[in-house]
Symmetry: C2
Subunit: 333 residues, 2 copies
């Protein structure tokens, strides 16, 4: 069997079982947004994500500056999804030897802009020759310590499910790039910006842990799939009552550039939004919303294990696309 048959999540589970036990110092290991281990009275957080040219971005269709920004931003989102503060990054560049130096300069300018904006220092890294261009960022962070973390396994029946912003903008931007939509139109430009230059929700993650939220995840694989990860880890189910659609995506649907069913599927399953799902009793969510007005409740956790039900205008809906698996030819089952 090859790895595409097993899929990303099957392979992760298989490899996890091959590893020696981690010991008491590791509080959160494989399977959450970031790892967390004890460092004195606090936690060190660590996460890593990779962008491969032609797989995760379209060379020539997105600016190299944005590729550098996104390589760091997607890691920042994982630290935000733990309720932590980012500190230091290691940057690995895999470069074909013919890569123009200006492309690397632009990638680094984007990385540096993102690092400056979120207070991260690039502390080191590695540069190697490779037949394909890829960027791996490993990012460390601080967290105050248990129970002040946003875990995947802390959802309880009756909890509210909230999201920090409307979804599907990134998927709409990818669609716009792939279908050559006119970038002079503001909704096309906005969608492409959501795709190429995501904003990690650092402040929302910190506000959530301070408000007593103990369960969270970032929307990277797609709302339904990421919520499924929470349900699996927490042994519960979820009902989505209201899937908020990004304004740029909504404008594309209104103009007919995107079919309305496709727009709903992009919001529910498109991925790469990098908003946060926060799962907690309604009172804790309300405290987060006092500081971040964009936070809205979109559903609730139910006891029935592992099932994510999606309601559209009150009617249960089957989604054509359920999220992203990095190794399969098709979306995750």
């Amino acid at each position: 069997m090859d790895v595409s048959g097993l899929g990303e999540f099957g392979l992760i589970e298989r490899l996890r079982r091959a590893l020696p036990p981690a010991g008491d110092r590791l509080a959160i290991g494989i399977g959450d947004d970031a790892a967390a281990w004890r460092s004195g009275a606090a936690f060190t957080l660590a996460t890593t994500d990779t962008l491969v040219a032609g797989v995760h971005f379209l060379p020539g269709r997105v600016a190299w500056h944005d590729v550098g920004w996104k390589a760091l931003a997607v890691n920042l989102s994982d630290i935000a999804a733990m309720g932590g503060r980012p500190t230091f990054a290691l940057v690995t560049l895999l470069l074909p030897p013919q890569t123009p130096v200006e492309h690397v300069d632009e990638i680094y300018a984007g990385l540096a802009a993102c690092a400056r904006q979120y207070g991260v220092a690039i502390a080191g890294g590695d540069i190697v020759a490779s037949p394909v261009l890829a960027i791996t960022v490993a990012l460390a962070g601080d967290a105050d310590g248990a129970p002040d973390l946003l875990r995947r396994d802390a959802a309880r029946p009756g909890d509210a499910i909230a999201v920090t912003g409307p979804l599907g903008g990134s998927a709409a931007g990818l669609y716009a790039l792939q279908h050559d939509l006119d970038a002079a139109r503001p909704e096309v430009r906005d969608a492409i910006a959501r795709h190429a230059r995501p904003r990690p929700c650092m402040a929302e993650g910190l506000a959530a842990v301070r408000a007593g939220v103990r369960c969270g995840i970032d929307v990277s694989d797609g709302l339904v799939q990421d919520l499924g990860h929470v349900c699996e880890a927490s042994g519960c189910g979820a009902e989505l009552i209201d899937v908020p659609i990004d304004p740029a995506l909504a404008a594309l649907a209104t103009s007919g550039a995107v079919d309305s069913d496709a727009a709903f599927a992009m919001a529910a399953g498109g991925g790469e939004d990098y908003d946060l799902l926060l799962i907690a009793p309604a009172a804790a969510i309300a405290r987060v919303r006092e500081q971040h007005a964009g936070v809205r409740v979109i559903g609730r956790i139910v006891a029935e294990p592992r099932r994510v039900r999606v309601l559209r205008d009150g009617v249960e809906t089957a989604l054509p696309v359920r999220g992203w698996d990095h190794l399969r030819a098709e979306p995750a089952p």
Copy 2:
């Protein structure tokens, strides 16, 4: 200009200048074996290294188990070269979707064996599709705090230069693989093992900081080049009086399988030995040798800046190979 014209070290220096300043918490940034930042009274260390199929190892010619071992071991060597203790690793796999699952199983078995042997836990990582197979490990470690670190910039004229073991075995192993030498011969087998399954010098690095050594580096790019990094960072020069040759390489030279000049060049410049260079007053080196009998003095630091002189049987020698640059077609200038 493309990146091969700038070279690995030129590109690193160029990118370092593009980054915002790091702030006081970062004690050691880009340019040492690992980064070090303050975590309470101690330091957190962090390093990352990548192996790319066809660039850093020969698929089909080395066991996948050994690829997994080496991916972690080369990172452990960087933590050893700071005098630290490894703690947690993140593992990123770039996998062509057609990769057989058994290959990934073997890679992970090798990683797990190395992790178990050196007390490291795999805390997380990332798996992505890619046209080329590659493994990136990011490794964190602990160190007790300044001045108890092995830095590159702490060499002083008059210091002794010591190495933890004889060199060139890894280069001999690569030569044996490339030239199909008979692996039934013990010296061929030993050289290939040195290349495929390096042993990080964790205990020697810790003993060195405890003995008062404050300058060190691991031999990854090649003895002369790595010593050149120390001289550049410290503003001094070096004289190598005695380049110790790995026994397997010496046996290959004796049998005529490797020319004796080539054997000397492999020991002085071959790289990937993952022994440590320790640079300190002779009394400190002597204290390390009390615990690690294999440590031997091979030269001394001189005031003349940046020049590494190599003596062979007392006569200054120009080396045909000076070490490894990951982006250039040829060895580093």
